[in-house]
Symmetry: C2
Subunit: 277 residues, 2 copies
Amino acid sequence: MTYCVGIEVNDGLVFAADTRTSASFDDVRTYRKMHVFEFPGDRVFVVMSAGNLATTQATLSRIQRDLDDPQCSRSLRSFRHLFEAAEYVGEQLVASQAVLRDEPSNNGVNVQSTLILGGQIAGERPGLYMIYPLGNCIASSPETPYLQIGESKYGKPILDRILRRETPLEDAARTALVSLESTIRSNLSVGLPVDLALLRNGELKLGQQMRLESDSPVYADIQDSWSRKLEAAVRTLPRFPWEPALAAGDETPASLPNMPPRRVAAQRDPGDAQGQQ
Amino acid sequence: MTYCVGIEVNDGLVFAADTRTSASFDDVRTYRKMHVFEFPGDRVFVVMSAGNLATTQATLSRIQRDLDDPQCSRSLRSFRHLFEAAEYVGEQLVASQAVLRDEPSNNGVNVQSTLILGGQIAGERPGLYMIYPLGNCIASSPETPYLQIGESKYGKPILDRILRRETPLEDAARTALVSLESTIRSNLSVGLPVDLALLRNGELKLGQQMRLESDSPVYADIQDSWSRKLEAAVRTLPRFPWEPALAAGDETPASLPNMPPRRVAAQRDPGDAQGQQ
C-alpha cells in the first residue's frame, strides 16, 4: 500500500519512501514515489505519493508541464510561499482525479491519492505539508513533527517516541529508516528499495539523496544492528517481582546477542507436531 | 478498538489485553477483556475478546451457563482436546451473533467479535487459538508464535522481531507489554489498565495474573526504561557515510539518556510561529 514519511526538525527535513506498488498480490512492481524539484540556491521541493499511481503520475506530469512552459505564470518556480505551492499541488491533484473519474465504469477503483510536499523557498523556513485527495492540506506541527502516508501504523510508535523538533537531522533520518524497516518487515505491501533524502535548513538543495537496497551497507547495518539492540533491550527490561534479578554481567545492554550468520545452511523440516491439536 | 495478544512459547502461554471499550470518542469505558476459566490441576482456559462487547458478553454468559449446569454434557469442563473447546466456543460465538442479528434495524452496527482462546487440558500440551466471527478457528504456529486481535499493527513489529518458540516466558511477557505500550501510546482506542496473565506449561493453573495501571511499578518501569533504551539505540545506530564517527564515549549503549522527571513545571506556550506558513 506504500509507506512514506516526512520529518521536520530544526535542522531541516527528512524524506523516506518505499517503492513497492501493487494492484494486488499478483501485480507487484517497483516505482519511485519520491520526486524532487530542485532549483539550487532558490528553492527545493520534494513530493512523495501514496494511493492511485495513475493519479499521482498525472499530477506530476501537470506540475512538470507548468514548469517547462515559459508562458505559465503559476508553477512551482513562481510561488513566494510554501503554502501557495501546497495549494497549487492540491489543485493539480484534484484535476488529475477528476479526469479519471469521468470514466463511466471505473469498477469501484479508488482514484484518490495523498501527497506529502516538503521543501524550502529562499527567504522562508522549510515546511512540510500533507495534501489530501480533496486538494486541501495541513502542515506538520512542532508537537508532532512528522507526516506519514500509506501503511502508517507499524512505523508510527518509533516516530512518536523519538522525534522532537530538536532531534538532529541524521538521528531523524535513522528513525525514519527504522520506521520503514519495521513496516517492510511486517507488511507485504511495503518493500525495498527505499529512497531517502535530506534537506538541510538554508542549503536550498538536497543535502543527501540515496536509494537503499537490502544489501546497501547503510540499510543492512541498520537492519542487523536494530534487531540486536531490540533483543538486548527486551532482555534487559526490568524484572517482574517474582523473577530473580539479572546476573551482573547481563545487565549492561552492551552485551548484544550474537547475530546468526547471514547465510545459514538449510535446516531440517521442523515437522507438523506443533500444529493444531 | 481493543488490542489483545496471546503468545505461545515452549515454556507456556502469555496473555495480555487492554481494557478500553469505546463506541465512539464520547463513549469510552473500561471493561475487562480477559476472562479466565480455571480448574486447577485439570484444565485452564483464557479467553480474550475484541469487537462487539454485547456479543462477547453473551458468548461468555453462554459458556458460564453450560459450566454451571450439571445436566449439560458439553461444556469447557468436558472436552478432552483443546481444539474441541475452541470449536465449542466458536459455536457459542455464532449463536450470540445470530440472536443479535435478528433485530430488524441494527443501524449498520457490526455485531461481530473475534476471540483468542488459550489454555491447557491435562494430558495435552498448551495451545492458542483465534476464533473468528464465523466460528472457525486457527492455532498459532511455531513460525509465528503469537496471535493478535484488535488494533494489531502498531504492536506487530516488536513481536515479529523478538518472539521465537525458544523465547523464555518472562521475556515473552515483557515483549507483550512493550507491544501493548506502543499501541496505547499511538492509538486512542486502546488504553490502560492492562491485564497480563502467564500460564506455565504443565502447571494447569495460572502462574501469574495481574492488572497493570500507569503507576504500577512493573508497567511504569517498562515504560520509562523502554523509551530510554530506544532513544539510546537510535543514537548509536551505524553512522551514515558522510557523518563523523561517534565519539568513543557515545558508542556504548550503556550511556542511557537522562529521562526528564516525571512531573515537570508548566512550560511557556511555545506559540504559533511554527505553524503553516
